[in-house]
């Protein structure tokens, strides 16, 4: 690798060519403050906080985007640099709604961190602020422009998702980040993926908070309140309590939920196994009967809305399977209530998801097979964290507990749903065995793991060579679909997850600050925990889940049966973008 020598504050470092001053300074042991910089997503040098002096240039330079060159001399801590950073910080603060105490991001705010680091005690340049109404019409996302510092991280991530519904509007002091024509985010083709929330350094974008609805339900003696948790929540929830990224807290989570007062604690992993049975059968059926191919997965509600809006031609390719959240909800309001003699009107289903789009999904009118909504309230991982904190539970020290039986049992194939490629891997584990009658030599299909944008795999199953592709992030999905559309690529089966990295880094997961993201990629760290969880499971193939088998025997008969279709499948319609 070609390297260059750079002098940073008198320390000579040798760094790869093409590095930025920010990279070089880090190697030299200097942490240059940043604000708008979000590695790989937003590298625009806009906030002017990471300014440094570069010998030979006139003005101060943004170190996050300034490429190093051989012999470059950089100074990061001169009076001019300190003054400029501080003035810019004061200016940003002068136009920021500084109600930190009541902000969702209090103590988890990158602007707050900077104010503390620079000891900003009074703001010399107070002046006018424009007051904007808060946009809370979306079931998933709330935008508060009064807190926005115009770093553009949300804009960049939305564009990289291939959605691009928010951007700078107007200019100068009146610049605001919002959808076109002053619309609500609910009124544009936002897919509710919530990646903008993860990108926001402050509290300008947040999830729609539904915690109060859950507290109310838990208070209601007439309601039987049950909860389900998605695979990715268990590898991230701990971060809300200061635990190391990638810590598995499955048992503590079940214990906490029980202590919060839920009548039953079930696992969405159960219905993930069920999804494999239904979707795997659907895939084989389509291959055998000349149905529409490629079959595309349907677990990710962000992806579904994306497809309905931008690629309606592909709607027939999407599996008719409901997402695991909705499947479990439908079963809770049918199989479960029948079995336990409950009134479905009085069963309240809460799901804890790594996802903001799930809030939108739960509100879809077609997802109420029993006449009641499959799922009543969706909480994100962050909201559950808040409930646990509010209840005063010492989460890291809770004992490990199990999920409740019947709808709480799951295999390793289910838990990997939480990482990109997981649904594909789980499906192939089962489909291979159905087709060939014997298990795969190695059930860990490495080709579909990892954070490459689009992954491909070919698996020989008897006479059948199954061609599969995995895309995560709708931007990558878009690129993949274009290739399928043009005929450049042909597949049998495609997995799409709306969020880059899959559910482990879904829009409802704990927020990782930009600085931390530079060192540790949560997509990889949390996925590793997911695969550990899989490895520790005694059963690792969905069709081996005994409770799923029992469900078919007792209630659904067989995958894709009439009853299964009624409860577990759905349909899609093209949506107008505007």
């Amino acid at each position: 690798m070609e390297t260059v020598k750079v002098m940073v504050d008198g320390v000579q470092v040798e760094v790869p060519k093409g590095s930025t001053i920010l990279d070089a300074a880090k190697i030299a042991g200097i942490d240059i403050p940043t604000l708008c910089f979000l590695k790989g997503i937003n590298e625009i040098g806009a906030c002017r906080i990471c300014l440094v002096e570069v010998e030979g240039t006139r003005a101060l330079q943004a170190s996050c985007v300034y490429p190093v060159s051989d012999g470059m001399v950089v100074r990061t801590n001169t009076p001019a640099v300190r003054e400029a950073r501080r003035v810019n910080l004061e200016l940003i603060l002068s136009n920021h709604d500084r109600k930190c105490l009541t902000c969702v991001r209090n103590q988890n705010c990158e602007l707050q961190d900077l104010a503390e680091r620079f000891h900003v005690k009074d703001i010399r340049f107070e002046g006018e602020s424009i007051h904007y109404p808060v946009d809370d019409l979306s079931p998933s996302i709330v935008r508060d422009a009064n807190k926005c510092i115009l770093c553009r991280r949300c804009v960049a991530v939305c564009a990289s998702q291939g959605v691009g519904v928010i951007g700078p509007v107007d200019r100068g002091f009146r610049t605001i980040i919002e959808p076109i024509f002053n619309r609500s985010i609910n009124n544009v083709p936002c897919i509710n993926c919530g990646q903008c929330i993860l990108a926001c350094p402050v509290g300008a974008i947040r999830e729609k908070d539904d915690v109060e609805k859950v507290w109310t339900a838990l208070q209601d003696p007439n309601l039987h309140v049950v909860v389900q948790t998605a695979p990715a929540v268990r590898v991230a929830l701990g971060e809300e309590f200061g635990m190391e990224m990638g810590t598995r807290v499955t048992g503590k989570m079940a214990a906490a939920l029980r202590r919060l007062g839920f009548d039953k604690v079930f696992d969405t992993n159960f219905s993930a196994d069920l999804t494999i049975m239904e979707e795997g059968t659907e895939l084989l059926g389509r291959i055998k009967n000349g149905g529409k191919l490629p079959l595309i997965t349907s677990c990710s509600p962000g992806w579904i809305k994306f497809c309905e809006q931008f690629y309606p031609d592909f709607l027939d390719n999407i599996s008719t399977c409901k997402s695991p959240q909705q499947m479990l909800g439908a079963l809770l309001k049918s199989y479960y209530v029948e079995k336990n003699g409950l009134d479905p009107a009085k069963v309240f289903v809460v799901s804890v998801m790594p996802c903001t789009a799930k809030k939108f999904e739960a509100q879809r009118p077609e997802l109420s097979s029993t006449g009641y909504p499959d799922v009543d309230v969706v909480l994100t991982t962050r909201e559950l964290g808040r409930m646990i904190k509010e209840a005063g539970l010492d989460f890291p020290n809770l004992p490990d507990e199990e999920f409740d039986p019947t709808l709480g049992e799951s295999t390793g194939a289910a838990v990997i749903f939480g990482a990109t490629g997981g649904v594909m891997e789980a499906a192939l584990r089962t489909v291979a065995e159905i087709v060939t009658g014997k298990p795969l030599d190695d059930i860990e299909i490495k080709a579909v793991r990892g954070i490459e944008g689009v992954k491909e795999a070919e698996i020989q199953l008897g006479d059948l060579l199954v061609r599969a592709a995995v895309a995560h992030g709708t931007g990558n999905a878009k690129a993949l679909l274009e290739k399928v559309k043009s005929g450049e690529k042909e597949y049998h089966f495609i997995e799409v997850m709306a969020c880059p990295g899959g559910c482990v880094t879904g829009g409802g997961q704990p927020i990782v600050k930009a600085k931390k993201r530079m060192d540790r990629d949560p997509r990889e760290v949390r996925a590793a925990a997911i695969y550990d969880e899989d490895r520790d499971k005694p059963l690792r193939k969905s069709h081996e889940n005994p409770e799923v088998k029992k469900l078919y025997e007792e209630y659904l008969q067989e995958p894709n049966s009439h009853k299964a279709h009624e409860l577990l499948h759905t349909h899609y319609v093209a949506r107008q973008k505007y």
Binding site: I44, P67, V87, F125, L150, R152, P168, F173, T175
Partner: protein
């Protein structure tokens, strides 16, 4: 080709167009037909002559009679007297401010033009910009022919370097070096762009060139394309310049038609074509990276450099960007040689510069002068001095990015470096003259208001910083200035200059910094004494009645809209300062000069 004994040139630049030159042309046609002169006398629509304030302008050749302020009613007289009988219509001739007599003049004798040196404007007002043949007749496209048939791209770059030409858009970067970077940049696909997004308030030289001599820009861009290895050019022109857009469109079509744009130009295998891109009127799109972002179809916002456009410009490809006036010099440099060009101007600033004269000056308009001309020559000799014999106070160059030149620097030769040294800048060449009645704090506020309005909003120093500066200035001009305001202004100005993302942000504080430097007393008077010495800032004025002069006529009291004036008939009246809204009605109405404004 018909031969005419006389050519009547009518300016159809934007200024004259607005003052009615289209009607004049129509009337001329009618009158010529009436007198059966249409085969003897030719009407030529031209670009700007530069003296826009007194348009429409009509010039009759071969005499060179220079008529100004011509209305269509004047046309019959011009035709029957001048064109038919050869008697120049003296009452319509341009009256010179410099020579007292204001006598009849031909073009060459007008002081306004005498001290000018028209290089980039040489064809403006001379040729019909909608006829490529006329451009060719005035040596057009010979430079391109010469370059393509006799020179290597490297030789062209060397000529540009030897000429010493510097960018006329603002910063004055050496054009030859820019071409060299673009020439050396690796890449199969490169672009040549022309910045015609002229946005400085009051500056309109680029518009004039595009309206009066569009082919000079096209030719220069093709030369640049050859020099750097590009086959595609973009002209980014503001949509608010409809005539320039129209003429450019015609020019591109004509050049394509003659094969001067397109494939295999002059049978040399060189291909080059040009497309127009219309800007939507954002000032920031004059900044090169914002301009390129806009060409690509995105929001016009600057991005940090490096990478510089020469390496990564439009669509990520190596791109050469020069402004209109820079390009207009280039065919001349090729034809007359770099030595010729380098012989004009000062040591480090070669050639000429066009200035748009405005403000408190008699000859408002466009002037092209050799670099190194003094401000005094521009203001007094070419500009005809300040109306009403008022005293020169300062001149603002470089528009909202520049600063002011105070009277002490009137005799300094103007070039890039001298202007930068005194805290101003060349900018695109706006030159606004201010006299003793201008308040410098108010001027700074005015320019800052412009920048605040035009900031793209990408970086906080510009987006919030300039706004905060403006708020302070507004307070000061409203008499609410307080201790610490000037220091905060300076802190903000210094840091915005050092830390804004693009050139526009970095230069936005200049008007404040330079007025603070030369006119700090005026700031102090506003902040501490709550006085506006120039009598401009309303809130700081006080109207009082001079007892000895007041006759008690009651007129002021009756006119005062807020009833702030009272008194007894035939006795001196008084103004209640708490009630007074400083509207100035009393001052205007008093017939005895008994009201004092301070």
């Amino acid at each position: 080709m018909e031969l005419y004994r006389s050519h009547v040139l009518v300016c159809e630049g934007t200024g004259c167009h607005c003052s009615g030159s289209a009607d004049v042309i129509q009337k001329l046609k009618e009158e010529l037909e009436k007198h059966q002169l249409e085969n003897e006398i030719k009407i030529v629509s031209t670009g700007c002559f530069g003296l826009c304030e007194i348009g429409p302008i009509v010039i009759v050749y071969p005499e060179g009679a220079f008529y100004s302020g011509v209305k269509s009613d004047d046309v019959p007289e011009i035709v029957s007297e001048h064109l038919l009988k050869g008697r120049i219509v003296k009452r319509l001739l341009y009256h010179d401010h410099v020579t007292e007599a204001g006598i009849a003049k031909s073009l060459d004798e007008v002081e306004f033009y005498k001290k000018q040196m028209r290089v980039t404007l040489r064809n403006c007002g001379v040729i019909n910009p909608e006829k490529i043949e006329e451009y060719i007749a005035f040596d057009g496209y010979r430079a391109l022919g010469k370059v393509l048939t006799e020179m290597t791209p490297v030789e062209v770059v060397e000529i540009m370097k030897a000429s010493g030409l510097r960018g006329r858009g603002g910063a004055g970067f050496p054009t030859g070096r820019k071409w060299e970077f673009a020439h050396n940049a690796p890449g199969d696909k490169k672009y040549v762009c022309c910045n015609a997004d002229e946005g400085d308030p009051g500056a309109f030289m680029d518009r004039s060139i595009l309206e009066g001599d569009p082919h000079s820009v096209l030719e220069a861009m093709a030369i640049a394309g050859y020099a750097i290895g590009a086959d595609q050019g973009y002209i980014y022109v503001r949509a608010e310049y409809p005539i320039a857009v129209k003429r450019l469109t015609i020019a591109v079509a004509q050049a394509r038609n003659l094969g001067l744009l397109g494939k295999n130009i002059f049978s040399t295998g060189f291909n080059f074509d040009i497309e127009l891109r219309l800007g939507a009127g954002a000032f920031v799109c004059g900044e090169e990276t914002a301009l390129m972002s806009s060409i690509e179809g995105s929001r016009g916002e600057p991005r940090p450099r490096p990478p510089f456009p020469a390496l990564k410009g439009v669509f990520g490809k190596p791109t050469l960007l020069n402004n209109v006036e820079t390009y207009a010099n280039i065919p001349q440099i090729i034809l007359k040689g770099p030595e010729w060009f380098a012989s004009i101007g000062t040591e480090k600033s070669k050639g000429t510069k066009v200035f748009a004269l405005g403000g408190k000056i008699n000859n408002t308009g466009l002037v092209e002068i050799a670099m190194g001309t003094t401000l005094r020559e521009i203001v007094y000799d070419i500009g005809g001095g300040i109306p009403g014999g008022k005293k020169f106070k300062a001149a603002q160059t470089g528009g909202p990015s520049g600063g002011c030149i105070s009277a002490e620097n009137l005799d300094m030769p103007i070039d890039y470096d001298s202007l930068t040294e005194i805290g101003s800048m060349m900018g695109s060449g706006g030159l606004i003259v201010m006299d003793e009645d201008n308040c410098m704090v108010d001027i700074a506020r005015f320019f800052l208001e412009f920048t605040v309005d035009e900031s793209c909003g990408k970086c906080p120093p510009c987006r919030i910083g300039t706004k905060r500066m403006l708020e302070i200035l507004e307070r000061i001009t409203q008499g609410k200035g307080k201790e610490g305001d000037l220091e905060n202004l300076e802190t903000l100005a210094k840091n915005i200059k050092a830390s804004a993302l693009c050139g526009l942000g970095q230069t936005a504080p200049n008007p404040v910094l330079s007025t603070l430097r030369y006119f700090r007393d005026e700031y102090n008077a506003h902040v501490y004494d709550k006085k506006c010495p120039a009598g401009v800032c309303h809130a700081l004025l006080q109207y009082t009645i001079v007892k000895d002069l007041c006759t008690g006529c009651t007129l002021c009291a009756r006119e005062c809209p807020v009833g702030a004036i009272s008194g007894e008939r035939k006795q001196p009246f008084t103004i209640d300062q708490d009630k007074c809204i400083k509207c100035g009605v009393c001052f205007e109405k008093c017939r005895f000069n008994a009201i004092e404004k301070k």
